[in-house]
C-alpha cells in the first residue's frame, strides 16, 4: 500500500504536475499577448519545485512506489541543475518568442511537462519508469519544436526527431524486454542482483546492445547522431537551447541508472561499446564541425564531440569517473545554454543570427557580449581557467586512472582539433570587420542573464572544487 511517506518523497513531481495543469487553465483565460502571467507562474513553479526538491532531499537513498522511484544524492543534484538551467532557458525563450512574435502559453506548459519528464527519468529505478519518463520528455520536445507552424524547417526538424526518436524508443524497449525476460524483474536493483547470482547469459548482452542504442541515440553519440545537426539547425533557437541543455542531464541520468544501477555486472561488455561510441563521437563531431558555416549546426557537432568526452568518464567504471562525467555534463549544459543564448541575443524579428558570419566584428558592436562569447568559446574548447577545462581535466584524469592512457591521448588529440573551430569564432569577433553595425536590441533581463551565465563559467572555473566535491560526494554514496 502507498504510505504517506512515499507521497511526500514524490512531492516535487506532484507539485510541478499540478502547477503545470493550473498554468494551462490560467493561460486559457489570459488575454495578454505577452503571456506575462503564464511566464511568471512557470518561473515561480520552477523556483518552488527546486526548493521542494532540496527541502525534501533525503539523508540517504530512499525508494518509493514498489522501488520504481529513487531519491538519492545524484537525483537531487541533477534535478537542481535541471531547474537552474530551465529557468534560464525559459527566460531566453520568453525574450525570443516575444521578439519573433509567436509567443504561446502552451510553450511554457509543455516545457514544464518536459521538465517533469526529466525529473521522472532522473529518479527512475525501474525499466518502466525510465521508459515513461523518456517518452514524456520526448513528446513535449517534439511538440515544442513543431509549435512554430510557419517555419517549414521547424516542421521538418520535428518530423525527423519524432521518427528517429520513435525508432530509438523501440530499440530501447526491445532491449528492456530481453533484460526483463532473463532477470524476471523490471526493477533495476533486482536486475543487478539477479545477473550477479545467475551468471552470464548471452541474452543479457543482446538486450544490452539494444539498450545501448537507445541511450546513444538520446545522448547523440555517433553512429546514432544523425538527428542532432538537423534538429538543432531546424528548430527555433529557443527550443534548440532547451533541447541542448537540460535534457542532456536527464539523458546522463538515464545512462547512469540503466548501465550503472541496473547492468553494473555487465561492466566489461558495455565498457567496450562505450569506448567505440566515444572515439567515434569525438572524431566525427570535431572534424565535421570545422566545415560548418551555420553556428547552430557547428554547435550541434560540438555537442556530439562533448558527448564523446562524457562517455569517457562513464566507461572508466568507477564512482569518481561517474562524478567526472556528471561534472562534465553540468558544465556542458551551462556552456551550450550560453552559446545558444548568444544567438538569441544577436537575432531580432525576422532575422536569426545563426551564421558564423553574423559574429564578425562583434567586439566593435558590443565589447561586453563579445567578451562573454569569448568565455563561452574558450570554455567549450577547454582552455584554462574556464569551467570547460576542468570538465575535460577530471574526465581525462579518471580515464588515465582506469588504465586507458591511449584513450586519453586520443581524446586530447581530438579536442585540439576541436579547439580550431571554437577559436575561429573568436577570430571572427575580434579580428574581422562587421558586416553591419546594427545595435544589439535586447531587454535588461536578457543582458543580465547572459552575463551571469558567461561569468558563472569564469567564476566556477576559478573555483571548480565545490561543484566537483558535490558530484564526488553524491556518487560515492550511491556506489
Amino acid at each position: 500500500m502507498i504510505s504517506k511517506a512515499e507521497i511526500l518523497i514524490l512531492m516535487p513531481e506532484i507539485f510541478i504536475l499540478t502547477l503545470a495543469c493550473l498554468i494551462l487553465i490560467v493561460d486559457t483565460f489570459s488575454q495578454d499577448p505577452l503571456r506575462r502571467v503564464t511566464y511568471y507562474l512557470s518561473q515561480l513553479t520552477l523556483v518552488l519545485t527546486a526548493v521542494l526538491v532540496i527541502g525534501f532531499s533525503p539523508e540517504q537513498t530512499v525508494y518509493a512506489f514498489g522501488n520504481s522511484f529513487i531519491s538519492d544524492g545524484m537525483s537531487v543534484v541533477l534535478k537542481t541543475g535541471v531547474f537552474v538551467i530551465s529557468f534560464f532557458a525559459f527566460l531566453y525563450s520568453h525574450e525570443y518568442l516575444k521578439e519573433h512574435g509567436w509567443l504561446k502559453g502552451e510553450y511554457f506548459v509543455l516545457g514544464l511537462f518536459a521538465i517533469l519528464g526529466m525529473m521522472i527519468l532522473i529518479s527512475a529505478y525501474s525499466l518502466l519508469t525510465v521508459y515513461l519518463g523518456l517518452e514524456l520528455l520526448s513528446l513535449s520536445l517534439y511538440a515544442m519544436i513543431a509549435m512554430h507552424r510557419e517555419s517549414t524547417t521547424a516542421s521538418e526538424a520535428a518530423m525527423k526527431f519524432f521518427v528517429l526518436g520513435a525508432i530509438a524508443s523501440g530499440m530501447l524497449l526491445y532491449g528492456m524486454s530481453m533484460i526483463y525476460g532473463v532477470t524476471g524483474s523490471l526493477e533495476l536493483g533486482t536486475i543487478a542482483t539477479n545477473i550477479e547470482s545467475n551468471g552470464d547469459n548471452p541474452l543479457l548482452v543482446f538486450g544490452l546492445v539494444f539498450i545501448m542504442v537507445g541511450i546513444a541515440f538520446k545522448l547523440g553519440a555517433v553512429p546514432f547522431h544523425m538527428w542532432i545537426p538537423d534538429v538543432y539547425q531546424g528548430s527555433p533557437t529557443c527550443v534548440t537551447l532547451f533541447i541542448a541543455s537540460a535534457p542532456k542531464l536527464a539523458a546522463f541520468a538515464m545512462a547512469m541508472r540503466l548501465l550503472v544501477d541496473g547492468l553494473q555486472p555487465l561492466l566489461n561488455d558495455w565498457q567496450g561499446m562505450l569506448i567505440i561510441l566515444s572515439i567515434l563521437s569525438m572524431a566525427t563531431g570535431n572534424i565535421i564541425a570545422i566545415s560548418q558555416t551555420n553556428i547552430k549546426r557547428m554547435l550541434a557537432y560540438s555537442t556530439i564531440a562533448h558527448v564523446g568526452f562524457l562517455l569517457l568518464g562513464l566507461l572508466s567504471g568507477t564512482p569518481s569517473g561517474y562524478a567526472g562525467s556528471m561534472f562534465y555534463i553540468i558544465t556542458y549544459a551551462l556552456m551550450s545554454m550560453g552559446a545558444f543564448g548568444m544567438i538569441i541575443l544577436l537575432g531580432r524579428k525576422g532575422f536569426e543570427a545563426d551564421e558564423l558570419a553574423h559574429f564578425k566584428g562583434l567586439s566593435e558592436r558590443s565589447p561586453w557580449f563579445a567578451f562573454i562569447m569569448l568565455i563561452l568559446m574558450f570554455s567549450m574548447a577547454g582552455v584554462p581557467p574556464f569551467l570547460g577545462f576542468w570538465g575535460k581535466w577530471f574526465v581525462l584524469k579518471e580515464v588515465v586512472d582506469a588504465g586507458f592512457v591511449w584513450l586519453a591521448a586520443t581524446a586530447v588529440f581530438f579536442s585540439i582539433i576541436g579547439a580550431y573551430y571554437y577559436i575561429r569564432v573568436i577570430k571572427f569577433m575580434y579580428f574581422d570587420k562587421a558586416d553591419s553595425m546594427t545595435a544589439i536590441k535586447a531587454s535588461k533581463q536578457m543582458r543580465f542573464a547572459l552575463s551571469v551565465n558567461g561569468l558563472a563559467l569564469l567564476i566556477l572555473g576559478l573555483m571548480p572544487g565545490a561543484l566537483l566535491a558535490i558530484c564526488v560526494s553524491v556518487l560515492s554514496i550511491a556506489a
Partner: protein, 225 residues
C-alpha cells in the same frame, strides 16, 4: 495437445499476416492484414488466460484505432510509386543488415535462455477475475507508472490542440439580436463641415463640389430623422 495446435495455427496466422502487411501493395489490404494480426495476437493471449488484454486489444485497436486508420488510408491519396522509390537502391544494404540481424537473433534467442521451457501457464478457476487482478496491480503496485502514463496522454492532447488550432474563426452568420438593437447612429456618422466656396473663390474641382453636396445631403438627412 489441442492447445498447442491452436497456438501454432494462430502463430502461423500472425506471422503470415504481419509479413503480408508490409509486403502487400494496396494500403487498404495492408491495414486489413494488420487487423488480422491483432486478432491472432488476441487469440494467443486468450490461450495465456489473459482475457482482459485480449478483449482490450480487439476493442481498442481493431475497433477504434484501425477503423480510424482505414478512414485515413481511404481518404488520403497515397502515391505508392513515390513510397517505393529507392526500394531497389536500398535493398542490398538493407537486406544485408536485416539478414545478419535475423541470424544473430535466431542464434541468441531461444526459449531455454528465458527459462520458459520448464514453465507452464498457471491455471486458475472460473471465479478468478483477470480484470480485477489487473486493476488491483495497476492502482497499487504500478500506481506511479500509471500516473505518468496519464501525464503523457495529457501532453499528447495539449500538443495536438496546440499544433492544429488556428484560433477562433470569425463566421459570417447573421446575428438577429444585434440587428434589432441597431440605432441610426451606428449606421450614419454626421460630420459638421464648414461650407466651402461662400467667401473663397468658387471651386472648379468637381470632386470638392460633390463633397459639398454630400455634406448638405447629410444635414438634410439629419433633419428628416
Amino acid at each position: 495437445m489441442i492447445e498447442q495446435t491452436v497456438f501454432y495455427i494462430f502463430s502461423a496466422l500472425l506471422l503470415l499476416s504481419a509479413g503480408l502487411m508490409i509486403t502487400v501493395r494496396n494500403p487498404v489490404f495492408a491495414a486489413l492484414f494488420l487487423i488480422l494480426s491483432f486478432f491472432s495476437t488476441s487469440a494467443i493471449w486468450l490461450l495465456l488466460e489473459a482475457e482482459f488484454l485480449a478483449i482490450t486489444l480487439v476493442v481498442v485497436y481493431v475497433g477504434a484505432v484501425m477503423i480510424l486508420f482505414m478512414f485515413v488510408v481511404m481518404m488520403l491519396d497515397i502515391n505508392l510509386s513515390a513510397l517505393r522509390e529507392g526500394f531497389a537502391r536500398y535493398l542490398p544494404i538493407g537486406g544485408m543488415v536485416a539478414i545478419s540481424m535475423a541470424l544473430s537473433m535466431v542464434l541468441v534467442i531461444n526459449a531455454g535462455e528465458f527459462g520458459l521451457a520448464s514453465d507452464t501457464v498457471q491455471r486458475h478457476g472460473a471465479d478468478y477475475s483477470n480484470t480485477k487482478e489487473l486493476g488491483v496491480a495497476l492502482y497499487t503496485h504500478y500506481l506511479y507508472p500509471f500516473e505518468i502514463a496519464g501525464a503523457i496522454l495529457l501532453v499528447a492532447i495539449i500538443a495536438a490542440i496546440t499544433l492544429t488550432m488556428r484560433g477562433p474563426r470569425s463566421s459570417k452568420a447573421q446575428k438577429p439580436g444585434e440587428q434589432v438593437l441597431v440605432k441610426s447612429t451606428d449606421r450614419l456618422r454626421i460630420i459638421k463641415m464648414k461650407s466651402e466656396g461662400a467667401d473663397s473663390e468658387p471651386e472648379k474641382d468637381p470632386l470638392a463640389e460633390s463633397k459639398l453636396a454630400q455634406s448638405e445631403d447629410i444635414t438634410v438627412k439629419k433633419e428628416s430623422l
